[in-house]
Amino acid sequence: MTKKQDIRFIQGNVAMVEGAIAAGARFYAGYPITPSSEVAEASSIRLPQEDGLYVQMEDEIASIAAIIGASASGKKSYTATSGPGFSLMQENLGVAIMAEVPCVIINVQRSGPSTGLATKPAQGDFLQSRWGTHGDHGIIVLSPSTVQDCFDLMIDAFNYAEKYRTPVIFLADEIVGHIREKVVIREVDENEIINRAQPDCEPEEYKPFNHTENGVAPLAPFGDKYVVRLSGSTHDERGFPCSRPDNADKFIRHYTDKIEKNYKDIVKVRKYNLEDVDITLVAFGGSTRSALEAMNMARKEGKKVGVLQLVTLWPFPEDEVIDALINSKAVIVPEMNLGQMIREVKRLNDFNTVVQGVNRIDSMAITPKEILDKIAEVENESSRIFG
């Protein structure tokens, strides 16, 4: 029976809920949508078992608003949706950014645009997850590729949210959300968990946006001994509206800087066989699985192929991608869209490295074979380089 408590065979969507609970989350507000609805269903069952609360709101706009509100009251909070709902959340995502309220937004991507094909996978929201809300801002986006990731990486997601007082996007896809596989649900050590810093000043002195040089201000919950003013309008340290240009400058930079400047802490990648490569496959999310399979197959054929999995998508792992560009003769980017991540790779390619995509948007997973074919093609085309 101990075994059973540890090892389970469940969907990614369900593991996300276990991960959230392990991270300390106790509040879910959402609006069901395929292929994320299992996150809602599992949350509705599991949260009250842990004294948490599940509420279904009238739409996605209200859902993200409710989790921001709940987080302001001190509960770690999350929601889950897919493309159409994620688009609807964009305005209030800005509130979480501006008021610096930690929360986690799960987007289980499906085939779009618009209603698209609800039950089919895609990775078409990669750039939206970075730029979907209006105005300048920074954002953290993580992407799981296994059910184990759905558990473990969710803990990271909450940790980053709390540490940097920011919304974190958990950018999954239908493949990872719906796949069932083995996952170890472990009891998480207390010191693995980050909780937002709390003020220790006198109540009168507390300013919810009085950021330190490299960090963020402590955030007291509503109902504590502090009085907290939070606002989605441009505001000063105390949370009062403020239209002074220098204040706007300071805060808007802060929203980006607090993330970009902590690149090292936030950026996670996984490297497979990169010590000695000709060709690096740069992948994220469900497509990583295709890339890894392709890598194994290619290695069997004696080809020096490695995989760089981007686990953190934003801030974009520039250093690691640059390393890959430098160290490889070619970089292949398989993604289930028309070439979104590859834009970022190309932006960094000052090295004349061959960069090519394997793209699929027909709602089917990229097969390892397609990647193998591309590897062969690239080898042929650039035989002078490889020769």
């Binding site: 509040f27 507000a29 069952i45 009250p48 078992q49 004294d51 609360l53 509420v55 709101m57 009238e58 739409d59 706009i61 209200a62 859902s63 608003a65 409710a66 989790i67 921001i68 509100g69 709940a70 987080s71 302001a72 009251s73 001190g74 509960k75 909070s77 305005e91 209030n92 800005g94 509130v95 008021a99 919950p221 509503f222 109902g223 504590d224 001994k225 502090y226 009085v227 907290v228 003013r229 939070l230 606002s231 989605g232 309008s233 505001h235 949370g239 009062f240 509206p241």
Partner: protein, 274 residues
Amino acid sequence: MKAQEFLVKEKFPLFWCAGCGNGSVMHAIVRCFEKLNYTRENTVVVTGIGCWGKGDDYINTNTFHGTHGRALAFGTGIKLANPELNVVVLMGDGDGATIGGNHLIHAARRNVDVTSIVVNNLNYGMTGGQYSGTTPCNKTTSTSRYGHIEHGFDLSGLVAAAGAPYVARGSVYGIVQLEKFILEALKKKGFSFVEAISQCPTHFGRLNGMKEPAGMLNWIKENSVSVSSANQLSDSERENKFILGKFADKEKEDYSTKYLRVIREAKKIKEGGK
């Protein structure tokens, strides 16, 4: 704490136009805070965007200033995550009844224990006096220069129909009654709603021939009737009046209380094994 102490005096004078009703309603609210012994720490004022949505700039409690139309959704999360808090949601008629209408009716239905106070000045003050979902038919606004052809909501009637246990409409002119409604609403366990008919002299007043700041308030005064006397009016007569009074006042178990049962049930099942 005294009413005056709930105000952020350093931010005075108020940014609202001369004669705008917002200040009067805000004053009534903090008087109620005093009467109910609220503290700054146990109270959260939640606002949307609009002139009335700037009310939180002047209130000294915890505040959450969200987006246009979504104040109730933020407020729902705030309250459900900590049911000990007094959550007071301030919305304009654009905010609360036009873009935010869905959150309003669902909050009424869901019965989360928050108090919403909509200042209904019959137009979008903040953005320049365009028509809103409560603008009366035939009136002039900056986007209905040829006369408005839609009918405004009977907002309190609508919220009552959505299931809210406490609904009342007052006016800035009838400030004493309005304050009483606000007090009752704050006391109510469950979702409560107060509509305050108010004046926007700068836009609605000016565009409808009421030039003096006091003019629109006077018009409100002259067109108000009580709920009881409204029963004798025809539909179209009703439409041109402000019907003041209580639209609902009943007991209904609130969401957080009910959720305790969900938790009990869930734990039973959890402990019973999976």
